[in-house]
Symmetry: D2
Subunit: 403 residues, 4 copies
């Protein structure tokens, strides 16, 4: 696991456990930012990405807005102007700074944002130490949500840093490896059979889950096979070398348009894929391509094209969840399922209603988790989602076939 | 039914029945084009729309390419250059004229396209009269597909003409009504209960269906209610007057962005919606808004926002098909289902493989049919699809609720 | 001279001479449109171009608005809605149809526009026959301006038709040549010396001139040489073959950006310039490149790059006018002068004030005239102007050098 | 004078004077950057602007490339990769980092750039101390050019910082004023008569000048009046309050399009112009509008519209230079002259040939100088230039009239 682990967010939430998790999660964000200069943390490399400093401030604003303001009588925000600057997309919470302009915020400085974090951390800890049980019970869902929310931003922070550094002709590494990774031998691909059955899909209670994971409901599954590991870089390289990026027969229509428009010819961070020495730009800098490693930073379009070329397809999110493949820690896996609401879906109450539901159109579900996901953050019912053209996430694929 | 009926395409296809259907369908396209000048037929009003002349030529090229060239020995195309001009999106059939430039084709003239149609019609009729049974059997699937394909373009022709005429400050009518429509009294909205059950969804054989309608498969349905008619213009007007287009709480995130970017404040062809005399631009010209009529020309985003405001939701395409509401002849109904492949989906064989499958991403299913759909063209299993932002189709909505 | 001549617009304007000129100029527009179908006349190939039908209607609206409405008591416009449709850019005359949407006007039809022309022509002729001398004197400047205005649109009509037809993969010819042009031997380029002097520049009275041609004023000229003919296609081909389009040293900064962005590698209508059989798309269709002919359809950027490569430069408009080169009937010649007002410039009075002055920024002066310019339309003081990136005009260049 | 003065760059260049000027100019850049954090110095607020860090590095690269590499045998660049990162627009010097991506360069860090400056400064000083006279003579033109070049970037640095800070909702001040400026009484506008004459325009030798200032040449001037000071904020406010931004009659065509497209309704950094308490965002933060101060941050379009409204016009650059108005230290003054080459213009030799000449199209000349211009940098012959739409410069206007 290349990045330091944070404590697992507890699914049961006695007060002291929540306090420990709060400390651990909040500290982990700072640990992730530590190798970066204030300049690195300030810049926004594209509208889809956010500056590290913004992630650090936004997650803090979330606790301030969802926990401290509703639950601490007389609480005054650290800076009244931050509600405008660090609201991400909550229309109900008022106007906000435009997303593509997040990188213009050289003020507040990195130092001021760190002070902001410390101030809010102190206020939350004082609240946890002093609140009566009823008030704590009222605050607990938002506190827990805030921790899971911050963990999501921890992964985004790393994806956004990787994108920023990849734009720099100097090829800077976020964190150099302690030593060169040993070359691993590729494992042959195996298949696991799944007969037809009625499966229960979604989160059934017991511990935290996002609203989009529920309600649990029955789904009919038709017989299928699922690969026993994600597609590797070596396998994807064979697709490239077979002309996969130049043959429209493998591609969805919008995918082929994206290939033609953007000149895609390899996963986002690959370089020299057409040579005998392909490399990949990673958080550890530019490295020789590891053929045994799961392919990452591909769009849904590339994932689906590869699957078609390989005589297979992507699994639905239901097939994926029912199979619950064991170790998926390297890459998020694109499914063939649109990010639609489950039958009977109910958004979170209050301001958090905008957390997930309003994005349920035009996006595709990814399942699993990645090397950049904080340990303990994910569950088999977890639904990640991005537009089909997104490539800057740690996104790969696993093959499925009809039985 | 405001537009003249064409013969129903037969589901069984004895040769003489197919010949009759061919004559009827081909003639119907010309009937639809007849009220329009060559100028009207030549212009393209936006990249999503095509000129009428292009529809007339493209459907002809389809028969030439899919039927005559493979099945008539020695067949020579009417004009070798038309394969480039009138291929819509078939990558396997070679390069093609760019879609947004279809309106630049003042040549071939309208007259030449009509001659092209006549030449191909004659060749097909000679083929039908003279082919031996084995050759006919080989050609029959493509012939049948070509007729359904042409019917789809008959509806597109009308949607595209309506869009073109709507851009003209002179408000020209495609076809004036024989008399002013009688004002209808709005019917109160009723609900039909549907208990939980396992339904068979998709086309199970017997007659023609598009590849995207199959295979038939079982789906679990959770208990729901479905409205007994589409939402009316009067009901949608109440949403507008309640400020529905100005309140983000009802809108999907991308929908709210579309409202803000494009300044949407009513369905596409409504005018003066904020006044006491709202009107609608139709194929019959500009008319007072008929409050009893189903609302049309709304995007998925507007449909979903209306449903949220009304305390309901859109049905899934499975809920819709299982209920198979009786009379849906006025508008296509947006469902809440992404246009995904059914389990075990297999595209058509050959060049027609690109007909449907490659569009299965980023689009939403509509069910039903509209006043512009040729009679007999649709089935309960029929899946129409458009991007969620599309408004120039005859698209409305029907409400659903959880039971 | 490839296109039929119209009568020269008289510089003195006795009433009968003006009437004759009116008939001749108006008829010439119809003659130019005659080889085109109504479809050809309706379509707009890019926002900078206008449909032929629009040119025919706009020039008619000009007479109606500038002559009939002010000078004929009780005159009622042929169609009150045309003022909105056919106003080009006169802010003082009220709102207008957006320029990029001119091609959507399938109505009024070509036939209706021809009737519009006939109605206005009749009204103008009746006015000319019956007006008293004082009223005629009041109308005369606008009538004369209207004729020169229509002649400008006659050239634009041809440039826009050429652009439209060039977009059609069928390579249709506007008008086939009676016979293939004889291959001409290129003439060697000669230079004419011009010593330093004080020249009078601009129109000094006597006959019609546009407001931008005055007032006449003195300008100091430094010694220079001017080529005795425009640059030929053969000479420009040598620039291409020497890599001229790939070497930034010859280019203005914005020109190099245009080359890189648009992939320019030859004049607009040249094809296969890199082969041994280069061709050019012309109003007579696709023809072998005539090496002796002046190069045409180049931007100011290409003209300036060629001149730099040839060790020369473009002349200023003052150098050009002072030299007044004899036969320049083939191409407009880019000068190195921005289209700035002359000292003491006064716009036309009334609505025509917007005719020229408001465009005096961001444009470059061309001098001379082209094969598409109506005979008698130009003068040595005539200032044509286009943005430096424009290529769809009949625009070439003549070299100058310091003495 | 709000910003600290640097030593005047000497026009004669004995070695010790050049060395002193080098020290002073180089130090001044660091002084200007000093109030800014590394974050402030790293971010790019729009493609037209550059990060402060980039200005600091680019001016250093200029000395390294134009002086050290040609003149110091065996000189090795401080970092070979900087030639790619910090080349601005010199095509002849090889490929370069794209301008709009300058803000992504979080590496090299601010600290590394400061070290780069120190290293190059040391090398230049060693060169100045040790070069023999012939080598010094060879290097002297590029050294002198480098100093004037750096002074130009000193002004750009301030314009770009102002733009960046103006985008921040926190309204940060670059440098707070020592005390609030005293309210000045507006001076009445006076006019100075200039009879017709033949003037010598351009730099005639004696001291440094940019290539675009020469050669000196004679120009005929027609009689005119020039205002004795620039237009003030109070005067411009009257134009706004008279509806000047809403009336097309005052505007050039492209200017009116800009007003309509961008919604301009006041100079770039004015706020609340329509209220009784208008403010302006400045390098000293947000301040009440000073009515006596020259209006600044207007485009050529706004300058020309104001002049038309005031019954006047902008001067030509020749009228301006011939009058050489005394104190123009507050704002650059738009002229009505396109940035065209003077008769006989010769670019600098070598790589510096791209310094000015290739931008002589599509730009307009400004004369004078601003509060952000380093003292001693400008001359009466100095030609600044920007596109007519530029508003982020310290650009105002002075009125002229025909006599």
């Amino acid at each position: 696991m290349p990045f330091p682990a944070t404590a697992v967010v507890p699914r049961a939430t006695p007060r002291h456990a929540l306090a420990e998790a709060f400390d651990a999660v909040r500290a982990h964000s700072c640990t992730l930012a530590a190798p970066l200069s204030d300049e690195d943390q300030c810049v926004q490399s594209m509208p889809d990405a956010s500056p590290v400093k913004w992630h650090l401030a936004h997650t803090t604003w979330f606790f301030e807005t969802m926990v401290l303001q509703p639950c601490v009588p007389g609480y005054r925000p650290a800076d009244a102007r931050y509600a405008f600057l660090f609201n991400s997309y909550y229309e109900a919470l008022g106007p906000r700074h435009p997303r593509p302009a997040r990188g213009l915020l050289t003020r507040p400085s990195g130092q001021e944002v760190r002070r902001y974090r410390a101030a809010v951390d102190g206020a939350v800890r004082r609240f946890l130490d002093s609140a009566d049980d009823a008030t704590f019970a009222k605050a607990e869902p938002a506190l827990t949500l805030g921790l899971h929310h911050e963990q999501q931003h921890q992964e985004l922070l790393l994806t956004d840093v990787l994108h920023l550094l990849s734009q720099n002709p100097l090829d800077p590494a976020y964190r150099p490896p302690a030593h060169a990774p040993a070359a691993r031998a590729p494992t042959p691909l195996g298949w696991v059979d799944h007969p037809a059955r009625e499966a229960v899909i979604g989160h059934a209670g017991g511990g935290f889950a996002f609203d989009n994971e529920g309600p649990a409901h029955r789904v009919l599954l038709h017989p299928y096979q699922l690969a026993d590991r994600p597609v590797s870089c070596g396998e994807f390289l064979a697709f490239i070398r077979d002309g996969g990026y130049r043959d429209p027969q493998w591609w969805l229509s919008d995918g082929w348009a994206a290939v033609s428009t953007h000149g895609w010819d390899a996963p986002l961070y690959w370089r020299a894929a057409g040579t005998s020495e392909p490399t990949s730009f990673t958080l550890h800098g530019l490295r020789p391509l590891d053929l045994a490693e799961p392919v990452s930073h591909v769009s849904l379009y590339e994932a689906a094209a590869y699957a078609a070329w390989a005589g297979a397809r992507l699994p639905t999110e239901f097939e994926w969840e029912a199979a619950a493949p064991a170790a998926t820690g390297d890459v998020w896996e694109w499914t063939r399922s649109a990010y639609d609401p489950y039958p009977g879906f109910q958004p979170f109450a209050g301001a958090a209603a905008e957390y997930n539901g309003k994005f349920m159109m035009g996006q595709v579900v990814l399942r699993g988790g990645s090397a950049a996901t904080p340990p303990g953050h994910v569950r088999p019912t977890y639904r990640n989602f991005f537009p089909p053209s997104a490539r800057w996430q740690f996104s790969g694929l696993r093959l499925a076939r009809n039985l």
